[in-house]
């Protein structure tokens, strides 16, 4: 016989039927059912198959420890989720459930992105109570009444824990009446929060507990709580264990407590003729309760009487068990092999465990964090004891958090209670036919692993539980060995001739229950997966069809194509405009740092390779920074605003790292320097006006400003009004052209850009993006940090001895004198001119000496291309490259072997290929 729905009883809502399908068969359950209880009530025996053996498997448990009933669930909205435990899925209308043979399926709901939405919540409390059973409720009441900020989390849909599945009484009233009253009181406490359907999945360092809350009717499907708790009470309960004997995996064999839970909570009669097989007192009332439900009790087999079940018979459903060599017909075997306190979170918190012989299991021993354990999680199994310990621990936790006097509140008295007494464990029942039956003695049902597997592992020489776990895969499935871990350890110990607690258990890993990737990713998806940073001029770029590139978190215009124009054509056009007339680009993303203080000049002398202390007010200077190891870290132009004030610029990507670097040296090495560094990156928008007509544009915009070559020379800056806006204008150039960088308040960035465009219209002013910017600077041999450099390049390698002081120390100066950094064959920056002026060497391509044999491997490489472009100005291609001893090779040929087997030959030249005399820039 299979399970049936009882005519009454249970905490389901029989007025709310819900339809669902299982492997295509239409079924009905009720609100309040789990998928497992509904399946059982519909007479389903086989929910899945053993992953290796293919043997039929039924429902074993009623909670997260279920090893068998694992299914694929498709919701009405089309979302399909693999590998869910039917025992933890709340039944809802329209579920389409499929059995699985060990592996789940990932499916996209059509072409649509998964509609599921999850979020996160940070929370802080004085006392966190995990588990809303009797011990947890008592603890929460004690803590909550003290005024402590208390959070109670419970994985179930309602509070009560095991009481939901028993008929226990308190003060001679149904225990659930007390639960209801306690829940009501807690809900009314202003500083107490109750989270239901909320599973604590991880206990990290510093009292950081992750709680996954399922929210079936909310806008977010789930919420991941990050709870920082002053004190933590773990009232996480215990899982009943199976007993290992031959063919112990047959549908109809289930945990005793689970069977009673199905009966009392869900109104499901799990079978008709039952044998109870127990090792302890927790099944004491089971027979009476089953009898009351009309189930015939065939036998009660108690290990403490020296009796044992050694085998089972049947097909897809249990038909009989073998008790002390005799066949007993039954369709239900209720098993209680003892109890495993749920110590997962305690262990994750680094608490230590100890073996307890009386309970034949591991118990919490010593906490490392502010962790308290109460109730059956602590080995206390009687209801009275759970309430008393819960109340005591809750009060103590609150007191340690500074609330209340630590005295526990009075709890109601349990009538009788459900102590388990001493456990007489049976790790596995020997079979009459000997060891051959061990291949049918299942230890880990989810991994289909048996006593035979463990015997093989120990026989191979393995003596560590971690090795045995890996050899057998026991404990590695989704249930993480909740029912099997202690048994496996004890079986292995027995086979090795050791005591049951000798081997310990494998490390408990977070999460306590499996949690979906989407649940953890939360809202950090799509547009919110990472900030998109844009400048104040972005609306113009978008309106004018810019193509963007990602530069860190920034989106920067790469080029501005006209209709039908290719990137190459657009970039050539943009470059030509800058070299022949005037171009404009948005340089707002450059890092900017305001440095103030009497020692600012000295400070810059120490952080830049060149000198700044003597820079005149009103002047600008290019500088290079190195790391302590002497490698180039960043570069930029720094201008003196006043005797005690500088305006530093950094590369876009290094804006934050450079500020951090400056603060680090200021705060930790040179606190005596009176310098303050403040980021002004986003205070200023920067519009670079570039080209021979840039002066004309500026003259139009700033009529009061003397823009003549003598009045506003190269590498100086002016404070001025430009287009009616207060501005700082820097005459600096990253293109080799006459150029100005106009800085205005970010509020004015777009207005300034528009004014520049209007003023430049008569000169054909052309906006350009990062690509043209890269070409223009490359033509001048200006390196880009991160493109010409890769953390292994010194300023000398870049041909920048001129920027490296010989007379003063700076960060990294000592490293430049190390042997390796003085080698003449270091890779040095050069330009390459392909013999074929149309041939473009791919960026990144490696280089070999002319005449190198390319027919064998490895081919000796002497450098690589860092940048490669078509130059509008030169009417040809060119590249920058780092080449071994490159400075001595000017005029030599070099070869780039391409991926397709062809080669490009090029001449090595000085890195400056346009206007080496700087006549254009200085014009």
């Amino acid at each position: 016989m299979s399970g049936t729905r009882a005519p009454s009883d249970g905490r389901i809502d029989r007025n709310r039927p819900l339809s669902f399908t299982f492997d295509g068969r239409a079924m009905t359950g009720f609100a309040g059912d789990t998928l497992a209880s509904a399946l059982m009530a519909n007479g389903v025996d086989v929910i899945g198959r053993g992953i290796y053996t293919g043997r039929p498997r039924g429902i074993v448990a009623a909670g997260v420890e279920e090893p068998n009933a694992i299914v694929q669930v498709e919701r009405a909205d089309g979302v399909s989720e693999p590998s869910l435990r039917a025992t933890t899925v709340e039944l809802e209308e329209g579920l389409r459930v499929q059995s699985l043979a060990g592996r789940g399926r990932l499916e996209s709901p059509g072409d649509a992105v998964d509609a599921g939405r999850f979020d996160a919540r940070y929370a802080h409390c004085d006392v966190l109570v995990v588990g809303g059973g009797p011990a947890g409720l008592a603890a929460a009441l004690a803590a909550g009444r003290s005024g402590a900020r208390t959070i109670l989390v419970d994985a179930d849909t309602e509070l009560g824990g095991t009481l939901l599945g028993t008929r226990d009484e308190l003060d001679r009233e149904p225990a659930l009446d007390w639960v209801r009253a306690a829940a009501g009181e807690l809900a009314a406490l202003p500083e107490t929060t109750i989270l239901l359907r909320a599973t604590a999945i991880a206990y990290h360092d510093h009292q950081d507990i992750l709680v996954a809350e399922r929210r079936p009717d909310a806008r977010t499907e789930g919420r991941l709580w990050h709870i920082r708790a002053g004190q933590v009470v773990l009232a996480t309960g215990a899982h009943e264990r199976l007993i290992v004997f031959a063919d112990n995996d047959r549908p109809g064999i289930m945990l005793a407590s689970a069977a009673l839970t199905y009966l009392h909570r869900y109104g499901v009669v799990p079978g008709q003729r039952a044998v109870i097989y127990t090792t302890n007192d927790s099944t004491r009332t089971a027979a009476a309760e089953l009898t009351e439900a009309g189930i015939e009790i065939v036998d009660v087999v108690d290990s403490r009487d020296g009796r044992a079940v050694s085998g089972s018979e049947g097909g897809d459903r249990l038909e009989a068990v073998v008790v002390d060599g005799e066949r007993r017909g039954c369709d239900l075997l209720l098993v209680s092999g003892g109890w495993n306190p749920v110590v997962h979170l305690f262990s994750q918190s680094r608490g230590s465990l100890r073996w307890d012989d009386g309970l034949a299991t591991y118990l919490p021993e010593r906490a490392v964090q502010a962790t308290h354990v109460a109730g059956s999680a602590n080995g206390v199994f009687d209801l009275d004891g759970c309430l008393r310990e819960g109340a005591a621990v809750g009060a103590r936790a609150a007191a340690e958090a500074g609330f209340g006097d630590g005295r526990p509140p009075v709890m109601p008295a349990a009538d009788g209670g459900t102590a388990i007494g001493r456990v007489a464990p049976i790790w596995f029942v020997p079979a009459p036919e000997g060891e051959t039956a061990e291949a049918r003695m299942f230890v880990d049902l989810e991994r289909d692993a048996t006593v035979a597997d463990i015997r093989r592992a120990t026989g191979a020489g393995l003596a560590s539980i971690e090795h045995i776990k890996r050899y057998t895969t026991i404990g590695t499935a989704g249930d993480q060995g909740k029912t099997s871990g202690v048994v496996a350890s004890a079986v292995a110990a027995a086979l090795l001739g050791q005591e049951p607690g000798a081997l310990g258990v494998p490390t408990f890993r977070a999460p306590y229950v499996p949690i979906s990737f989407a649940f953890i990713a939360g809202r950090d998806r799509g547009a919110l997966s990472d900030p998109i940073r844009t400048t104040s001029i972005q609306p113009w770029h978008v309106a004018h069809g810019a193509v963007f590139e990602d530069v860190g978190q920034w989106k920067r215009p790469r080029f501005f194509p006209r209709a039908g124009e290719s990137m190459d054509a657009a970039v050539l056009r943009e470059c030509a405009a800058a070299r022949t007339s005037v171009g404009v680009m948005d340089a707002s993303t450059l890092g900017k740092i305001d440095l103030q203080g009497p020692d600012a000049g000295d400070f810059l002398d120490r952080v830049y390779t060149n000198g700044f202390a003597k820079l005149k007010v009103g002047s600008c200077r290019y500088g290079v920074m190195c790391r302590v190891d002497g490698m180039v870290f960043d570069d930029g132009v720094t201008s003196r605003l006043a005797d005690d004030r500088f305006h530093m610029t950094t590369t876009t990507g290094n804006a934050a790292p450079v500020l951090d670097h400056l603060e680090e040296w200021l705060q930790t090495e040179w606190p005596e320097l009176r310098v303050r560094a403040t980021s002004v990156t986003e205070q200023w928008a920067t519009v670079a006006v570039v080209g021979p007509r840039s002066r004309d544009v500026l003259a139009v915009l700033a009529p009061e400003l003397d823009v003549s070559a003598d009045g506003f020379p190269f590498m100086t800056w002016r404070e001025s009004v430009v287009a009616g806006l207060p501005a700082r204008v820097f005459r600096i150039s990253f293109s080799g052209e006459l150029a100005y960088e106009i800085n205005v308040s970010t509020w004015h960035g777009l207005a300034m850009w528009e004014e520049v465009m209007a003023a430049g219209e008569r000169f054909g002013i052309t906006p350009y993006g990062t690509e043209a910017m890269h070409v223009l600077r490359a033509e001048k041999g200006y390196p880009i940090i991160g493109q010409e450099t890769d953390g292994t390049v010194t300023p000398q390698d870049l041909g920048m001895e001129w920027v490296v002081s010989k007379t003063k120390p700076f960060i990294g100066s000592r490293s430049h004198r190390r042997a390796e950094n003085r080698r003449p064959d270091r890779k040095q920056l050069v330009a390459l001119l392909p013999l074929n002026p149309d041939a473009l060497i791919p960026e990144g391509n490696q280089l070999v000496a002319a005449g190198t044999d390319l027919g064998s491997r490895p081919v000796p490489m002497i450098g690589h291309v860092t940048s490669s472009y078509r130059s509008a100005f030169l009417g040809r291609t060119f590249a920058l490259a780092l080449v071994r001893g490159g400075r001595e090779r000017h005029g030599e040929a070099i070869v780039a072997p391409l991926a397709d087997g062809t080669t490009i030959e090029a001449w090595i030249t000085d890195p400056v290929v346009v206007d080496p005399d700087n006549a254009r820039r200085d014009g």
Partner: protein, 185 residues
């Protein structure tokens, strides 16, 4: 010039319960609080500096926020920064016993979002790890912290609670989208 200014969230549709307060004046002050000359000079202009970390003197219209043991942010109404900076520089220059004070106009370096929503705490707790419970964080408190992936100066104005979030312009659209998306159920 007001017509030429654009705030970072101009034209951006924002969710209920929050709005941009654009163009506030902001001056970053750096000085050693033990330097009585410098502190006296500064305080003669802006009023007492909050010396307790993460606290604020003042309110909606004018306030000083503690940013670090030697750093404060002076917030004022739009258009007041230039005068204030000049006044500070003049006063410090005249104070012969004042050590160095760094003064930087950072008005455009951050914009301000004001969150006035009954669930403001919960919304922020969706991405901000600091404890916003009234016992821990109330009116007159500020903190430099993270909300989701954006750095902010978080500042509680009143018991409502109303919060201000000062954020870099380039992160403002992200933060606004995050807040709009966060309005809880």
């Amino acid at each position: 010039m007001a017509e030429l200014r654009r705030s970072p969230l101009e034209g951006v549709a924002l969710g209920d319960g929050f709005r941009e307060v654009p163009f506030l004046s902001q001056i970053d002050l750096r000085l050693n609080p033990a330097d009585e000359g410098a502190r006296g000079a500064v305080e003669s202009v802006v009023g007492p500096l909050p010396l307790v970390p993460n606290t604020v003197h003042g309110g909606h219209d004018a306030a000083i926020l503690w940013l670090g043991p030697d750093e404060w942010l002076v917030v004022g109404p739009p258009g007041s920064a230039a005068d204030l900076e000049r006044q500070l520089r003049d006063t410090i220059a005249a104070a012969t016993d004042a050590g160095p004070v760094a003064i930087v106009d950072v008005s455009a370096n951050r914009t301000t979002l004001e969150l006035d929503h009954p669930d403001a705490r919960a919304i922020l707790a969706g991405g901000c790890s600091i404890d916003l419970h009234p016992r821990a964080f109330g009116p007159g408190r500020c903190a430099q912290t993270l909300v989701a992936r954006a750095g902010v100066i978080l500042w509680q104005l009143d018991d409502a609670p109303t919060y201000r979030l000062l954020v870099r312009p380039s992160f403002a659209a992200y933060l606004a989208e995050w807040l709009t998306d966060a309005i809880p159920d």
